[in-house]
């Protein structure tokens, strides 16, 4: 039986009914569908429209069974069993068998039977079920209906209407699960077809799921179409590296190339879904890779052998010693982040380390250390589904953690959960979770949290209430403090939802100044003792003072306070202060860069090491829940080494003894530390900041769109074409005050850009821009951060064109 979720219910409390399937009597929970009861007994009733996560529709009629006392065969997918019911499936009922066979014959009438050229061939429910319950030979000798094909329902998804069996899985997914009902059935009878409105493509962040659940080859993706036959593929269960939602994936490859990625079923995390970025953004794994180590010679980078590069790195880092800074990007696995954390403290004797390649603050660091780091899994996806209220702060789930969004939508659809977002804009995503907006100027969220309406504060006091806070809380002065205080006061459980897959793992691994693995404080004697023992050193050998983090670390590198930097998985453009970051990497005396792709940082590096991407190593991500999401190595004979192995080699070259650098060894050492129950540092208590604007200025709100200019999305133009249109969102009132411009110039402290105007449910005095989308990067183009005041100037159309 397909379990969709355990609903947190006490199994003993579930009322059981007795049902007899093909003469075998079993007990099932009340409300069970006949098709699931049969599955429990190993009887697979054929089905097309049935999907355990979609509402039953009983349209395809493939699952007809006999139910005692009912004159006509009933669809097993919609028949709820009752106590004492007798069901006869195709196993024991000639009527059911004949009905099922009839439906299969009908379904094949107008089907093109182009299996030899169909992507689904070999893994096709229609093919399989036609073989298992269909007639050996068709009796149809007429003409099949034809359609033009394929047609695009979006840039990424193509539709072959001739293959479609009208099961309505895709349309129900779009409507029920994603909340993007742009896909609909049109026309009637044999001309019925899936389609979209002419001016509204199926630009859903979740569109790829429809390809996966299509029981025939009607929906295909532009990326995978005609690329491979399923039986030629090797499948490996993996974890998605694109965000902290933690999706289980299945990676399929052929001849050392990933051909596609599918959502893999994990009822507790992503159920059976994933987002289009996780599904389609994988060409980067292969394209544009750094192929060998490089060292700088006479000002130029040149390929080098591994021993040569290791030697250069070891010499440079040994010279800088404890005045080295370590920057760990958000793509790191737990094991790699742990290796960085250990390398900094043991090999370099430095505590100058940070994993936050984004907006950060010392208040945030204190908050993460005290409230999040190393805490066990308590707030889960299931908690969201059961919560009476979920409050989101500095978080846009649909863009920043799409599976959290899907679960919030599921919770909202159940009618149990009230969703409140503290922010500046009622996004479409908020509408899809039936959420309410609690208006806050960007940067002033903390004030709003301190003065919550009484009913919301009361609701947060109910058992099961959840507060989800995004990583953007770092840009709110007093924000982390206010969130922590609110959770303490109301008793609501608090979870931190970072955007990148590696952040929670890096936090728990101690890749942050002042923080050792598991939430242990560098300054805490017993914590030092435990960690030093695990690392095989004396506690006195650990750095004593808390090192630089955040922009202090960058400034120290720029100013020569630090002699060297080690960076892994860092994109220069992700730092809000572009000038500071650029100066840090160009100004630092010695730079070692561990990357899989060439970047602005590798160009500045003295030594560059190529490292493995997710398919070339095993590892673990911690999702936002803190749940370990381990994954295996897809390409086992890859020559690329993980960051941890490279760091281990550098340490060896430096003649420093480091613990194991393989995944199993690191996991063993890390797990050996156990749960930390001692001092976690002070919960910060900062006074809320406020947002200042001049009379003709607007506060800037911004976050990263799911599909944007991120480097790991490179090489996938079909995915990029489904991105949301880039523009400036403003309220209708703001647009009216500017005389309804079609374009405006947005003027920030460090530059300006011209963008089209999109009127949205934004609070007045605020404009929303995508943080890093094609044609709009607020850091690079405006020199502005979230909460900064920007100006707007109406642009006549011809003026904008040259810009």
């Amino acid at each position: 039986m397909t379990m969709t979720s355990n609903n947190g219910s006490d199994l003993a409390a579930v009322e059981m009914v007795s049902v007899t399937v093909d003469g075998v009597t079993i007990e099932v929970p009340r409300g069970t569908l006949a098709i699931r009861a049969a599955e429990l007994l190993g009887v697979e009733i054929p089905r097309f429209c049935d999907h355990p996560l979609l509402d039953p529709v009983a349209a395809c009629r493939a699952c007809l069974i006999e139910v005692e006392g009912m004159p006509k065969p009933q669809p097993a997918c919609a028949q709820v069993v009752s106590d004492g019911m007798h069901i006869r499936t195709q196993v024991s009922s000639p009527v059911a068998r004949e009905a099922q066979e009839g439906v299969l014959e009908f379904l094949l009438l107008n089907h093109p039977l182009d299996c030899p050229v169909c992507d689904k061939g070999g893994e096709c429910p229609l093919q399989n079920q036609a073989m298992s319950v269909g007639r050996p030979q068709t009796r149809f000798d007429g003409e099949k209906r034809v359609f033009d094909k394929p047609i695009n329902v979006s840039a990424e998804i193509l539709l072959d209407r001739e293959r479609c069996v009208s099961c309505a899985r895709c349309t129900r997914f779009a409507d029920q699960i994603a909340g993007d009902p742009m896909l609909e059935l049109l026309e009637r009878g044999a001309k019925q077809q899936v389609g979209t409105a002419a001016d509204q493509p199926f630009d859903s962040y979740f569109s790829g799921n429809t390809v996966q659940i299509c029981p025939v080859g009607a929906l295909t993706s532009a990326a995978y179409r005609f690329r491979a036959r399923p039986f030629d593929l090797v499948s490996v269960p993996t974890t998605c590296e694109h965000c902290a939602s933690g999706c289980s994936l299945r990676t399929d490859y052929r001849r050392d190339t990933v051909t596609r990625r599918l959502a893999w079923a994990d009822p507790e995390v992503n159920e059976e879904w994933n987002c289009d970025k996780g599904r389609f953004a994988f060409p980067y794994l292969r394209e544009g890779r750094i192929t060998s180590p490089m060292i700088r010679e006479a000002g130029e980078l040149r390929p080098a052998s591994w021993p040569e590069a290791l030697d250069a790195a070891a010499r440079g880092l040994a010279a800088a010693g404890s005045s080295t800074g370590v920057l760990v990007g958000g793509r790191s696995t737990v094991e790699d982040a742990y290796a960085y954390a250990r390398f900094a403290r043991v090999a370099l004797g430095s505590d100058n380390i940070d994993f936050r390649v984004r907006e950060s603050s010392s208040e945030e660091a204190a908050f993460l250390a005290a409230v999040i780091a190393g805490t066990p899994v308590t707030t889960t996806y299931e908690s969201l589904e059961q919560a009476p209220i979920v409050m989101t702060v500095a978080l846009e789930p649909e863009d920043e953690s799409p599976i959290v969004f899907l679960r919030l939508r599921k919770a909202a659809r159940s009618g149990r959960t009230r969703i409140v977002n503290v922010g500046a804009v009622a996004t479409k995503g908020l509408t899809k979770v039936r959420g309410e907006l609690l208006a806050a100027l960007p940067g002033a969220e903390a004030q709003v949290l301190q003065m919550l309406p009484a009913d919301i504060r009361r609701a947060l006091g109910q058992p099961g209430a959840v507060i989800l806070v995004g990583e953007r809380i770092a840009s709110v002065v007093g924000g982390p403090s206010a969130v922590a205080a609110l959770a303490t006061e109301t008793g609501a459980s608090l979870a931190w939802v970072p955007r990148r897959a590696g952040e929670r793992g890096a936090l728990d691994a101690g890749a942050l100044a002042g923080l050792l693995p598991g939430g242990r404080q560098l300054v805490d004697p017993s914590a030092r003792k435990q960690v030093a023992a695990a690392w095989g050193i004396d506690a006195s050998e650990l750095p004593t003072g808390v090192g630089f983090a955040g922009e202090n670390l960058l400034a120290a590198a720029r100013d020569g306070v630090l002699g060297a930097l080690v960076s892994g998985g860092v994109e220069l453009g992700d730092y809000p202060d572009h000038a500071l970051a650029a100066a840090a990497f160009t100004g630092v005396g010695f730079l070692v860069s561990l990357e899989h792709h060439h970047s602005a940082i590798t160009e500045q590096a003295d030594v560059v090491f190529p490292v493995a991407v997710v398919t070339e190593k095993s590892g673990t991500f911690l999702d936002w829940e803190g749940r370990p999401r381990p994954f295996g190595q897809v390409f086992r004979d890859s020559l690329y080494e993980s960051d941890a192995r490279v760091l281990g080699m550098i340490a060896t070259t430096m003649e420093r003894r480091l613990g194991p650098s393989d995944v199993a060894g690191i996991r063993r050492e890390h797990a050996g530390l156990g749960l930390w129950e001692g001092f976690r540092g002070q919960v910060p208590d900062r006074v809320p900041g406020f947002t200042m604007m001049g009379e003709h200025q607007f506060a800037l709100a911004s976050w990263r769109a799911l599909i944007d200019a991120g480097v790991m999305q490179e090489g996938e133009p079909f995915l990029a074409a489904t991105a949301r249109q880039v523009g400036v969102w403003m309220s209708a009132r703001t647009a009216a005050s500017l005389d309804h411009p079609s374009q405006v110039r947005v003027i920030g402290p460090g530059g300006s850009i011209v963008l089209p105007v999109q009127v949205a449910e934004v609070i007045d005095k605020v404009v929303v821009l995508p943080m890093n989308s094609p044609g709009c990067s607020i850091y690079r183009d405006l020199g502005a951060r979230v909460g900064d005041a920007v100006g707007l100037v109406t642009v006549k159309r011809h003026e904008g064109e040259g810009s």
């Binding site: 039953p56 529709v57 009983a58 349209a59 395809c60 009629r61 493939a62 007809l64 004159p71 006509k72 065969p73 919609a78 004949e98 009905a99 009839g102 439906v103 014959e105 009908f106 379904l107 009438l109 107008n110 009796r139 149809f140 000798d141 007429g142 003409e143 209906r145 069996v165 009208s166 609909e184 059935l185 026309e187 009637r188 009878g189 044999a190 001309k191 019925q192």
Partner: protein, 433 residues
């Protein structure tokens, strides 16, 4: 059996469709008396009368009303199914044209009984005349204070919306009608929940046929016992029979249930030009055909079921010996193929398949093996489809095969038009090819 004009009694009065014309014969008197009674007692009267739904299925009306939960704090709705689209059915549209106020008065009383404050009349969009007549009647009733707030000084308020369909037979299926009314594409809904519990806008809803509702004022005025004088124990009351086809005087005859087709044929002036009856259909193309030997069967729900057919809409179509049964069945299947909504596989694909095979018979190159194949495909549709439209599509052929197998076999070599000169079957005089 004599005719019993009730709904049709004053149809020769030229202004019956106006409020004044309707009131001249006591119109809206039933409403006044109904509003003095408890809603439950109205339901009881309708239950006691034994009135059965006139839309085709014959479900007891009072029982349907009784299914609506009371004191549930949800709005209730009455929806009148006026989407009369069945081939051969032509009785609701004449009622709406000639006596729209009987419908409106029935709607008000029925809404009062089921505690609905909104009623909808869903009229087939292809008949704007009927639409205008009913919309006008509702406006007149509103102006007279029969529709609106505090009707006749009581606490009861009602608004009636007249809604035009957009040309889909499937919207006569009650749940598809509800989807259409809500603005969605009309396709039948999965049951349960049934409309009485979660119908229009997920609220308790009663859906009744035009003729059923038009009966209500007369039942309230004259009592349950009065209705039971007519018809049989299981089929009480009278029925608006609409006789069409090869008869001398096609038309509408209101008679007690239990009248025979032979009697109706007499009222309709007998067979056209004295020709021989070939087959007839008691109530729309969705019910199996009958032949000469069935002419003396009482037209009741139970007797028709006994003969393997259904009373359906009670609108007999009469076909004489000039008609090719192959051609007639092909036309019906083409209709069902065209109107299949596409939701379920058996109806969507089955009608496509059968129609293709039948068209070959019509043109004289049917395959002999297809004679049985079509029959078998029909068994794969009937009882397997999502709604009754699929069952209906599987109806014409098996009955035709039962009585006229030879004609289908002949159609393996001779086209329908060669077997039967189509001009001879044309109804209008002097027609030529």
């Amino acid at each position: 059996m004599t005719l019993t004009p009730v709904i049709t009694e004053h149809w020769d009065s030229p202004d019956l469709y106006t409020l004044e014309g309707y009131r001249r014969f006591g119109g809206y008197g039933a409403l006044a008396s109904a509003l003095k009674q408890d809603p439950d007692s109205i339901i009881s009267v309708v239950k006691d009368s034994g009135l059965r739904g006139r839309g085709g299925a014959g479900f007891p009306t009072g029982m349907k009303w009784g299914f609506v939960p009371q004191n549930d704090f949800k709005p209730h709705y009455l929806v009148v199914n006026a989407d009369e689209s069945e081939p051969g059915a032509c009785k609701d549209i004449p009622i709406m044209m000639a006596n729209p106020h009987a419908l409106v008065e029935g709607v008000i009383i029925a809404s009062y009984a089921i505690r609905a404050s909104h009623a909808f009349i869903y009229i087939r969009g292809e008949v704007p005349n009927a639409l205008r007549k009913v919309a006008n009647a509702v406006e007149q009733a509103r102006a007279a204070g029969f529709v609106g707030n505090n009707i006749l000084g009581t606490d009861f308020s009602l608004d009636i919306v007249v809604h035009a369909g957009a040309g889909a037979y499937i919207c006569g299926e009650e749940t598809a009608l509800l989807d259409s009314l809500e603005g969605y594409r009309g396709q039948p809904r999965l049951k349960p929940p049934f409309p009485a519990v979660a119908g229009l806008y997920a609220s308790p809803t009663v859906i009744n046929n035009v003729e059923t509702i038009a009966n209500i004022p007369y039942i309230i005025e004259r009592g349950a016992a009065w209705l039971r004088q007519f018809g049989t124990e299981k089929s009480p009351g009278f029925k608006v029979f609409a006789v069409s086809g090869h008869v001398n005087r096609p038309g509408i005859f209101e008679a007690p249930l239990g009248i025979t087709m032979r009697e109706l044929l007499d009222y309709a002036g007998g067979m056209r030009d004295g020709r021989k009856l070939k087959f007839w259909i008691p109530g729309g193309s969705s019910v199996p055909m009958l032949v000469e030997e069935h002419l003396d069967l009482p037209l009741t729900y139970e007797d028709m079921a006994g003969a393997g057919t259904m009373l359906g809409t009670g609108t007999p179509m009469v076909f004489d010996e000039t008609v090719s049964v192959v051609k007639a069945v092909t036309r019906w299947l083409e209709f069902y193929k065209h109107e299949s909504c596409g939701k379920c596989t058996p109806c969507r694909e089955g009608t496509y398949w059968i129609t293709g095979m039948l068209e070959r018979f019509e043109h004289g190159h049917g395959q002999e093996a297809d004679v049985e194949k079509i029959a078998h495909v029909c068994t794969q549709i009937a009882g397997r489809s999502f709604c009754a439209l699929g069952d209906a599509a599987a109806t014409p052929y098996p009955a035709a095969l039962k009585y006229f197998r030879d004609e289908f076999l002949a159609a393996t070599h001779t086209s329908a038009d060669e077997q039967f000169d189509p001009v001879a079957s044309y109804l209008f005089a002097g027609a030529t090819r």
